[in-house]
């Protein structure tokens, strides 16, 4: 399972995209996710796709790797496509099988919506593939900085995010260990009656919760022992630096936005 899911996984590299300021990447992806919804005809979708694929190509991550990672969401995309294909009733009837009829508008709508979905996932995946979790959190903290004036606990939120990201692999490891220990006691995680399955899940979740609480407690103690007192006056090991190339990329997104407004029907 872990081998297929690449959303949220970082692939080390030194491409332009890897070296972009995490704030720039966050802004680009966030803006992209918003302006995707402006597209409503072939020209605008082509433009959006071009941007996303160029972004992916610049990251130098093998496209086959990204494609493999997108596979799990293929079913959702396919389902969306079929739903729109049969549910939209606009334009001419193109094909008819019994009660089901496919309209011209349905094909258009289906392709567009699936494409939109694919582009959204592709761009957000690109963010996590090229940015370490620590960079993402630093970027989020810095971008949300102004909210501190409104007493939003930005630093604490960023810290929570960093800690949860950090512990995903640890939890995975722990899960595997406990599953093995319970399998040795005759638990069958792959089948059985409903009640047996529930019991199997309980035998996994209870130990997992207990060790997580214990670990959280230990982490808190370790942080306090090293004098952690929250964000006030805390300096950073990695300083974020905004470079001209970051501005260029943001300008590209602005250009994309302008073009979309012009070309949409």
């Amino acid at each position: 399972m872990t081998n297929h899911l690449i959303i949220g996984q970082y692939v080390p590299g030194h491409s332009v995209i890897h070296r972009l300021d995490p704030r720039a990447k966050l802004l680009i992806v966030f803006a992209y996710v918003l302006i995707v919804f402006l597209a409503n005809n072939a020209a605008t979708y082509a433009l959006l796709s071009l941007f996303a694929f160029a972004f992916a190509a610049l990251s130098r991550i093998p496209f086959s790797f990204i494609a493999r990672g997108l596979k799990p969401i293929l079913w959702v995309v396919l389902f969306t496509l079929l739903l729109h294909l049969f549910m939209t009733k606009e334009g001419d009837v193109i094909y008819q099988i019994g009660a089901l009829s496919v309209y011209e508008g349905g094909i258009k709508q289906g392709v567009f919506i699936s494409l939109r979905f694919l582009l959204l996932v592709l761009m957000t995946t690109m963010l996590t593939l090229t940015t370490t979790p620590i960079e993402v959190t630093d970027g989020v903290e810095s971008l949300l900085g102004p909210l501190k004036k409104m007493r939003v606990p930005v630093h604490e939120l960023a810290l929570m995010m960093a800690i949860s990201l950090r512990f995903i692999p640890t939890l995975m490891e722990e899960t595997e260990k406990i599953m093995k220990a319970q399998a040795a006691r005759g638990v069958d995680f792959s089948g059985g009656r409903f009640s047996e399955r529930m019991k199997a899940i309980v035998s996994l979740l209870v130990p997992l919760f207990i060790s997580s609480f214990k670990r959280a407690d230990e982490l808190a103690t370790a942080m306090e022992a090293r004098g952690y007192r929250g964000g006030e006056g805390r300096t950073k090991f990695r300083q974020l630096a905004w470079k001209p190339v970051d501005t260029v990329f943001l300008a590209a997104v602005a250009l994309l936005f302008a073009l979309l407004c012009l070309l949409r029907s």
């Binding site: 081998n3 220990a181 040795a184 006691r185 005759g186 638990v187 130990p207 207990i210």
Partner: protein, 289 residues
Amino acid sequence: MDIVFEKVEHVYNARSPLARRALYDVNVAIRSGAYVAVVGHTGSGKSTLLQHLNGLLQPTSGAVKIGEETITSHKRPKQLKPLRKKVGVVFQFPEHQLFEETVEKDICFGPLNFGVPEDEAKRKARELIKLVGLSEDVLVRSPFDLSGGQMRRVAIAGVLALEPEVLVLDEPTAGLDPRGRKEMMEMFYRLHREKQLTTVLVTHSMEDAARYADEIIVMHEGTVWGHGTPEEIFRDADKLAAIGLSVPETVKLKQQLEKRFGVVIPSPCLTLEQTAEAIQQLFAKGERP
């Protein structure tokens, strides 16, 4: 049950860029009723080897024969369940697997999974709680109210409740105090003697390996480096040191004495008692150090 490894290889994440070979060309036989210690440096493949003993891992190539069963890469996971009853595994920090509301329920969990009737499982739980050195009134308590050492004993009782023919122990005393360590090792040894339980102990303690095991398997970088009686294995301290292992303190003492005083001590000096006796004999012979 005899256990035979034939040309066993195990590759994690096979056929992927992350592939990592953890075991290769492992040929080893563990005879029924033996007490075998598996030693080796961290990352030498001990844990991977151990998980092949009850089918938690299947060899990528080669075969593991356990009694009548043969496990190869083709075996379907469903067919492995009966094997898990015959081979009990006590993992490192077994207390992490506790989850039931009461100690009794947790000990009964394994047997019930294998279709043992409930009253029989409960009878077993009462018997085992005493065997692992706890009193019967612990049975009704929550396992999470117990101390770390007590939790570990309960978890071990949960594995013993399966009445396995082979008991596999992965560093069962890690994190215990010296007294708890000794008590636990003595308990496993007693079980081994009384029930002719085939025991496989993975350990970092050369002292434990020397004291309890009939045979020692030394793992190094994914394959079997040496296999023999403790006396044979600990004969050459320098060779062991080269792969990051040492000999027991008592053997070190014997070798130092031999070097300093130019005597030959015939005893292998595997335990404290043997060593004391050997030194006494030196005195008796009049070769006063």
